[in-house]
């Protein structure tokens, strides 16, 4: 299992902060420029990088990330090229930051889960999030990942019943990704009022850090979550900032959110 992820969360905690897991799409607008975005996010304070690998049919994503996927696919961002061209470069520029891949199960299956896990470890990937792979379907892939020490990070949803959420949390690798809203990725003005209870429940059961994601876009939406989660994931807001105003805007937004994550 990856120790890097645990260390990154512990470091943030020692500084009295929630961790920022920052997402961007590899290959948006092209492969080299997306590396600049990832590096900028780390300069802005990101503790973990979530590297999106585009899929043609992203059913868990809202319009912002859907559009980013289309741009990345046009730029030729296949999983293979992301592992060969984006990940090593990000690793070189941000040697301290753990990297997590987020993509869909078909993309990993097409490469072969064992082959993927091996390559991912060799390139320095700590974990992988597959939003369309619920626990019932994940045993085979998880075993392949475990063998290489790549954490298969599970997701927990607002619709997940408490007992199921506890089982997911107990069994988790890397961290638990608590989806804050029943919906797709995207920015939200408000998060559901019962989110904190849900995070508390998952945190009690989990032996790994717990993060909240989906809908978090700025310091204000992040701030109330620090008391209940070890960190937050920010995706669409960063993708949007990087797309319209470039890496510097993504860096600025990371810094803002990090201020909201101070305990």
């Amino acid at each position: 299992m990856s120790t890097e992820l645990g260390k990154a969360f512990a470091k943030a905690k020692a500084r009295g902060e929630g961790a920022l897991v920052a997402y961007a799409m590899a290959g948006d607008p092209d492969l080299p420029k997306s590396v600049d975005v990832f590096a900028a996010m780390v300069e802005g304070g990101a503790d973990v990088l979530e590297i999106g690998v585009a899929f043609s049919d992203p059913i868990a994503d809202g319009p912002v990330i859907q559009a980013a996927s289309e741009r990345a696919l046009k730029a030729g961002a296949t999983l293979r090229r992301v592992l060969d061209e984006v990940v090593p470069e990000v690793r070189r520029r941000c040697p301290e930051t753990p990297l997590v891949i987020m993509t869909y199960v078909n993309v990993v299956m097409a490469m072969g889960e064992e082959r993927y896990a091996k390559l991912a470890r060799e390139r320095g990937i700590s974990g992988t999030i597959l939003p369309d792979l619920p626990p019932e379907e994940s045993a085979g892939i998880r075993a392949a990942f475990d063998k290489e020490g790549v954490d298969l990070v599970p997701l927990c949803a607002p619709t997940t019943p408490p007992a199921r959420a506890e089982a997911i949390a107990k069994d988790a690798r890397g961290f638990v990704y608590c989806v804050s809203v029943a919906g797709v990725t995207g920015m939200r003005a408000e998060l559901p009022p019962d989110l904190s209870q849900r995070l508390d429940l998952v945190k009690r059961a989990a032996s790994v850090p717990v993060v909240a994601g989906f809908g978090i876009s700025n310091a204000d939406t992040a701030r109330p979550l620090v008391a209940h989660a070890d960190g937050v994931v920010v995706g669409s807001a960063l993708v949007k900032a990087a797309h319209s105003d470039g890496p510097a805007a993504a860096k600025q937004l990371c810094a803002d959110i990090k201020r909201g994550l101070k305990r």
């Binding site: 043609s56 059913i59 809202g62 859907q66 078909n106 993309v107 097409a110 045993a139 989806v179 029943a182």
Partner: protein
């Protein structure tokens, strides 16, 4: 909770590859469906609506002139085109909307390709008083204007989907995204025997009324089961419905026909059983058209209902195990068959169905005289007249001008 071969598998295929948010809804649906099946009154209600409203059983028509023209097996037509709304799709939507009502769901969403499933869902919603939204690829909205009108007339909201290839697969993505956001009170009526478990099973069960009727009708008219049954395959609901009740009858040949579009080697087709590889699309593991990187490829067919890069998992299993034979027909083959059926039998088949007819000709000849071939007429061609007539209508036959 972690087993690799969870419920809802057909051999290697099937499963439930969806965001966690949807898993509880699918478990709820699975349980509600199991309960409904045990409740005789549910089955009786479905049967009653199919009889009183849909017009079932649909007839099994002997196709005398086609039989003669083809010079092989005796041809029979299972007339799903005569069901209310003009296609087999209504069998499934009546069942699912009744199930949704039983589950206390407040609104219905659906995706549609050709628009037949959208119309059938809108119809069932009108009949049972539930609000209905239908997601449809923007390209399909353009090419299926009649069905768009019908859905709107029936009180449904049609939402054009602009992402991706702007066809059925994108409509299904969008319906899933919307379902994720409104899963508590919304029921998603999937239109083919595809999608995450338990949909492939539910849709197959509701569509199997076709095959059960074929069985009873052939026993009554021929005194035995048919020698072969042929159906077109998009997602596969009309095919699995017609074929499933015959799976144990190994003497009955089961044949599925896929869209070869501009040709199997053109890269523009919908032949996922023939040329697809194993992958996950729309919640199930099946055969899909994809590139080596796992990106789903755009399908092509002249018929919007076959223009889909995946196929239901049970058909993938039947094809891989050899229980079902798979054939293909191109756009041009389908158009030729359309006019042949129109002019020899007085039936305008849907373009989807025309693919089944196109492949049935050689099958009938191979089978030879004394054999019985049933063609599943999945739907009627009214919705396709704009597409077909745009290519020009061949001159009248046997009339001096």
């Amino acid at each position: 909770m972690t087993t690799d071969t969870a419920v809802g598998r057909f051999g290697r295929y099937g499963g439930r590859y969806v965001p966690e948010t949807l898993v509880p809804a699918l478990l709820e649906l699975e349980e509600a469906y199991a309960k409904a099946q045990q409740d005789a009154s549910f089955g009786e209600e479905v049967t009653r609506v199919l009889r009183e409203y849909v017009g079932r059983p649909t007839t099994l028509t002997p196709a005398h002139r086609l039989t003669e023209a083809w010079g092989g097996a005796q041809v029979w037509l299972k007339r799903e085109d005569l069901a209310h709304t003009g296609a087999h799709k209504i069998n499934n939507t009546v069942g699912q909307v009744l199930l949704a009502r039983r589950m206390g769901k407040k609104r219905i969403i659906a995706e549609t390709g050709a628009g037949q499933h959208g119309v059938a869902t809108a119809t069932a919603c009108a009949l049972f008083g539930l609000p209905c939204e239908v997601f449809m690829g923007a390209l399909d909205v353009e090419r299926q204007a009649l069905n768009v009108f019908r859905m709107r007339a029936l009180g449904a909201v049609v939402r054009p989907v602009e992402s991706g290839s702007r066809t059925l697969k994108d409509a299904m993505n969008e319906a899933m995204r919307v379902w994720v956001s409104q899963v508590q009170d919304t029921y998603y009526v999937i239109g083919s025997a595809a999608g995450p478990h338990p949909y492939p099973t539910i849709v197959r069960d509701f569509q199997s009324v076709i095959g059960r009727e074929i069985r009873a009708q052939t026993l009554a008219t021929m005194g035995r089961l048919p020698d072969a049954i042929i159906a077109c395959v998009g997602g596969g609901s009309n095919a699995i419905g017609a074929l499933h009740p015959f799976i144990p009858d190994t003497a009955v040949r089961l044949v599925g026909v896929e869209a070869a579009g501009h040709g199997l080697d053109s890269g523009q087709h919908g032949a996922s059983l023939t040329l697809g590889t194993e992958g996950v699309l729309h919640g199930s593991r099946s055969l899909v058209l994809q590139d080596e990187h796992g990106q789903i490829q755009e399908a092509h067919s002249i018929s919007a209902g076959l223009d889909y890069p995946g196929v239901g998992p049970e058909l993938a299993h039947l094809a891989k195990t050899g229980r079902m034979e798979v054939r293909t027909a191109t756009d041009d083959d389908a158009l030729t068959a359309f006019y042949e059926v129109a002019r020899t039998e007085g039936i305008l088949p849907a373009l989807e169905t025309s693919h089944a007819f196109a492949a049935a000709r050689s099958l009938a000849r191979d089978m030879g005289k004394g054999k019985h071939l049933v063609i599943n007429c999945s739907g009627r061609g009214d919705k396709d007249v704009a597409t077909i007539s745009a290519r020009g209508v061949p001159p009248a036959t046997g009339v001096k001008s």
